[in-house]
Amino acid sequence: MHVVIPYVVAALLFGLGVYGVLRRRNAVLVLMAVELMLNAVNLILVTADVSLRSALTGVAVESWARPAAAAPGTGGVLALFVIVLAAAEVGVGLAIILQYYRMRKAVVVDDVRLDRDEDTDEERVAG
């Protein structure tokens, strides 16, 4: 198989994710675009497991370029770790978004005030 196809697909997906993060104003849609980027990285890891393994066939087992952990399936293991990280990220991110929505009744990223404004904060929470 030609591994350049999944590599190019992953690059395009990553670009789409960057575009979505920069373009969208709704926080939930920003999280969806982040998921696209994480999936592009996973696709690169799984594809590298196919392509780099065959590139390493001539390398001696003891050498630095081929550590003991680089057995078949390593890319898949790393992709599994990234999937777990993405699940944790989306859980905490949605908790933050829902808490913010409860306080301000909005999920627009542009309107989030980064400077601390004690008076309005306490007002909104009490109200």
Binding site: M1, V9, M32, V50, S51, V77, V90, A95, V125
Partner: protein
């Protein structure tokens, strides 16, 4: 062009096309559903590339859990049913940066890997991946379990406003 190449091309086209609809659709719920299509096509790519377990975990965790969570969030934030006109910022800077990154990386990969044929991998079955995880990668596995636990506790603390408020008053 072998069967695997045709499958890779078709699934990749579906993934990129529905990914483009995710970031351009003006309906919030539709973007979530297009995300399902995109993630499913990527799971198909994993299957063609021989990573069976990753493909099924992708279906279970991403399509089953993450997208459902995102759709829950869309509903809980009272998203409108119809199209929302104010979802987007101006397109030009985002298109420049996103398109530059995407096309630049694509050209880089195409130049690095060319049109070279690689041998088919033996499928990474659950048995082999399990040997890997509990052999070479057991320490990262344990660390990631601690990270999941702390993310769980963090999400609970964040979504219970009374916990944070009590800590703040005690701190004062």
């Amino acid at each position: 062009m072998t069967v695997a190449d045709v499958l890779l091309l078709a699934l990749g086209a579906v993934a990129v096309g529905s990914g483009a609809l995710v970031v351009t659709s003006s309906h919030l719920v539709r973007s979530g559903l297009y995300l399902v299509v995109s993630l499913g096509a990527i799971a198909g790519l994993y299957l063609v590339l021989g990573a069976e377990l990753v493909a099924w975990v992708q279906i279970l965790v991403y399509v089953g859990a993450v997208v459902v969570l995102l759709l829950f969030a869309v509903m809980l934030t009272r998203a409108p049913i119809g199209p929302s006109p104010d979802l987007d910022r101006p397109a030009l800077p985002a298109a420049l940066i996103g398109g530059g990154i995407g096309i630049g990386l694509a050209v880089l990969f195409a130049d690095a890997f060319r049109w070279v044929r690689h041998p088919y991998p033996e499928p990474a079955t659950a048995e082999r991946v399990g040997e890997q995880i509990f052999g070479a990668w057991v320490l990262p596995f344990e660390v990631i379990s601690i990270l999941l636990l702390s993310a769980l506790v963090g999400a609970i603390v964040l979504s219970r406003p009374d916990i944070g408020a009590r800590a703040a008053t005690e701190g004062d």
